[in-house]
């Protein structure tokens, strides 16, 4: 605590209080949207138009600009969920609990996108919609983990209890993800067909890499935007009896 400047500590303390956080998000939202639009615009322009076609895969590889960032996001969001869940469990910070559960549907969406685009990419490359490829399989299991979190949260009526349950489950999941990942990878090397290598490690040119990184960054900003939207409704619903929500409601009329 001594190493952290006082101003930073004060900032986090204020952010942990719901009305302050709500007001703060109102202020930053336009900026987040601007950055997101710019990043996505440049990323897509670079990826779909400027970057050359792949010498092996032709233009079909352009799915990479959403497939790979989505796959990254699916793992990243699970980490965020587990970490904020742990913070919520240990320090009883309401906002951390809400971040954890609000992340789950967004993470599940990215996992779904990674699977769906992976399948669409696989069709022209492998000739079939689904291959039990290591990465696709772990992604599928990750989707089940997300659905478990969402399902558990929905099944428990008391939302404070439910967020605790979600935090425990997310932590258990986070310990298991590497184990699942490596076991699936190991399993895959034993059963792998010869066609799969075609998609492995396309020697990526710099003009292909830059749009990929831009898209990865843009997805991070999208996550922030979507997360804030979900946090807001969750905050309003949980604090519906608090004075600040009541005044907010009055302002809306």
């Amino acid at each position: 605590m001594f190493l952290i400047p006082n101003a930073v500590v004060r900032f986090f303390h204020r952010m942990a209080s719901p009305p302050h956080f709500y007001a703060f998000t109102d202020k930053v939202m336009p900026w987040l949207i601007i950055i997101f639009v710019l990043l996505t615009g440049f990323g897509l322009y670079g990826g779909l138009y400027l970057a050359p076609a792949d010498y092996q895969q032709g233009d079909s590889y352009r799915i990479i600009y959403i497939h790979v960032p989505s796959a990254w996001m699916s793992l990243f969001i699970y980490m965020v969920m587990a970490i904020s869940g742990a913070i919520g469990l240990v320090w009883r910070i309401k906002l951390a609990e809400i971040v954890a559960i609000s992340s789950a549907p967004i993470g599940a969406s990215f996992t779904f996108i990674a699977l769906f685009t992976g399948s669409l990419w696989g069709k022209p490359m492998w000739g079939t919609w689904w291959v039990w490829d290591a990465r696709l399989t772990s992604e599928l299991i990750l989707l089940f983990l997300y659905l478990g979190v969402i399902g558990l949260y929905g099944a428990i009526d008391d939302k404070r209890v439910a967020s605790k349950a979600v935090a425990i489950l997310a932590l258990v999941g986070v310990v298991n993800i590497p184990i699942i990942h490596y076991s699936v990878e190991w399993w895959n090397t034993l059963h792998q067909g010869p066609t799969v290598t075609k998609m492995d490690k396309p020697s990526i040119h710099i003009s292909m890499l830059i749009p990929l990184l831009l898209m990865a960054l843009s997805f991070k900003f999208y996550y922030l935007i979507a997360l804030i939207q979900r946090i807001r409704i969750e905050l309003l619903q949980r604090e519906r009896n608090a004075q600040w929500v009541k005044t907010k409601v009055l302002e809306q009329n």
Partner: protein, 224 residues
């Protein structure tokens, strides 16, 4: 010392209860046998085909049997208030929970080992893989009980926890299934399986140490 005494008392109590109830032992076992008999009926009784997929069938059935038996782990204690009493004990809940899991495994997991050779013969599995099958079951089913305990602890307070339990638990069972199934398959073709067995051992150690904590935390949350 008194913690050890409490640990033993819980195991003894749960074993005694299982003996008095009986169906608790029989149900997962019958389920295990039934599911395995369904496979030849469903996919045809060609000996080659059955032999090839026997390790997978046995392990998937064991997985499902383990999952179905999970509900009885905390259900009756939750319903009659004994769970509250266990949580209020001054001893660490995770240790007491571990005792319950061990007793539960003795009652529901161990019997699977006894019938597994019989079923392996049903499916025409080569005899040299029988030993490995038993070894993987011995190492793998406790892991299933330990991981499953986290899932039941999270859902025991819910009126309809069954469906959600399988969603929570089955994805976490994947590594055990992969390594155990593969070890049996490899043993069938006479290949060494040391690596798989070592991994299963480390999974067992890891889950023995780690799983009781979230289980205890989840139980505290469930009784709220």
């Amino acid at each position: 010392m008194s913690l050890f005494y409490a640990f033993l008392a819980i195991i003894k109590r749960d074993l005694l209860l299982a003996v008095r109830r009986r169906t608790e032992i029989a149900n997962p076992l019958l389920f295990f046998i039934l599911v395995i008999t369904l496979f030849p009926l469903g996919i045809g009784a060609q000996p080659h085909l059955l032999q090839a997929i026997a390790p997978g069938i046995i392990w998937v059935s064991a997985l499902l049997a383990a999952m179905l038996s999970l509900d009885s782990l905390f259900r009756s204690d939750f319903d009659d208030g004994s769970l509250e009493q266990i949580l209020l004990s001054p001893y660490p809940t995770s240790i007491l929970v571990l005792a319950k899991i061990i007793a539960h495994w003795l009652v529901t997991g161990l019997p699977l080992l006894i019938v597994a050779p019989l079923l392996a013969v049903f499916l025409g599995m080569p005899t040299q893989s029988l030993g490995v099958l038993l070894l993987t079951l011995l190492l793998g089913t406790p892991v299933l009980s330990l991981i499953g305990a986290i899932g039941v602890a999270l859902t025991v307070g819910l009126r309809r926890g069954g469906m959600i339990l399988s969603l929570l638990v089955l994805p976490l069972y994947v590594p055990v299934l992969i390594f155990a199934g593969n070890a049996v398959e490899m043993a069938g073709s006479g290949l060494p399986v040391d690596a798989q067995i070592n991994i299963l051992i480390s999974m067992l150690c890891l889950s023995l140490v780690l799983a009781p904590w979230p289980t205890a935390a989840a139980l505290k949350m469930s009784v709220n």
